[in-house]
Assembly symmetry: C2
Homo-oligomer: 195 residues x 2
């Protein structure tokens, strides 16, 4: 774990994904680690923090989530554009060396038996809230966030700092066909305008 | 409806929200129209296209969705920053003139008895897929997209064109406390790099 990674208080964990980034989903079971990309991950509640993520039945990571009951949602960066696209299009079912081939490096965080992807800007360790109906019918998985961390070079003191960090730290927002957008400029609404 | 608004084929409708923008949710029932902002809206399926949106029990728009069984998800722009923040913080329960006060102008699309918010970049008309468990336990609503439209000045021929459109057309991505980010630069992964 690099020295810039610090815990994020759980009540502010939703901020790590509130802007709708494409995420990486990782899980571990039976000695197997896997990582996939997911554009469909979303906040669900503030306290305790919960999120949703859509995991297709063809994804091996989904099996690991179902069997282990836990997973990590992490926020990849512009520097990880190619890695993100490759873990989103390769499958470990047909390519056992997927993670090596995609350039994924994993690290551990004490107290969590989960694979964390190095180089991301934020990580949310989640406990699966088992909802068989949603999982079967909609491929929809709900997680309670039980731990959160961020790299302080881009998220510090409860706030993203994309505007001052190196642009390589910006989050990725997938559209289709290998095309993404990076997050852009900061904007603030006028809080005092209510009549 | 302004002359720049064109239908989007349903199989590409997911692209309108795939980059995780904060959206406006609107609904109509019993002569009442309302609009709220939601940061937690997400793709769920491609064909037929489905999406999820989290609607808090305190929101009047939620009542209109439950009673009418339909709603619109629309993608607001940087030009609508203040409008978006205001419909997200004011409540029509306590402020019957909320929409007027927030500067919301509604328009109609033939064949859909729904209130569409003018000035947005994209609109998805949704039929509520009633799931009482999700709605009560998680405030989670699932919609099937039954119609989609976009303003061709920023989404054309199935693709967002934020990079060439006026920056005022960029989507909004909410964090907290009135702070948003606009969507930023386009990036493309190398599709030919698989070994």
């Amino acid at each position: 774990m690099n020295s810039h990674i610090e815990p994020v208080e759980l009540q502010k964990a939703y901020r790590l994904i509130n802007h709708g980034p494409t995420v990486l989903v990782s899980a571990r079971h039976g000695g197997i680690d896997n990582v996939m990309a997911a554009a469909w991950c979303c906040g669900l509640d503030f306290a305790p923090p919960k999120l949703t993520v859509v995991l297709d039945k063809t994804a091996q990571t989904r099996e690991l989530v179902e069997k282990s009951g836990s997973f990590v949602i992490q926020v990849p960066t512009v520097a990880q554009l190619q890695l993100t696209h490759e873990v989103g299009t390769r499958s470990r079912f047909t390519e056992p060396d997927k993670l090596v081939n995609a350039g994924v490096e994993l690290f551990n965080i004490e107290g969590h038996d989960l694979p964390f992807v190095a180089g991301c800007s934020a990580w949310l360790a989640c406990r699966l809230m088992v909802e068989p109906g949603n999982q079967e019918k909609y491929d929809l998985f709900i997680g309670e966030v039980v731990g959160a961390w961020a790299d302080t070079r881009v998220f510090n003191n409860g706030h993203w700092n994309f505007e001052e960090a190196d642009p390589a730290w910006r989050s990725l927002h997938y559209i289709a066909g290998g095309h993404f957008y990076a997050i852009g400029d900061a904007l603030s609404a006028d809080e005092g305008s209510k009549s």
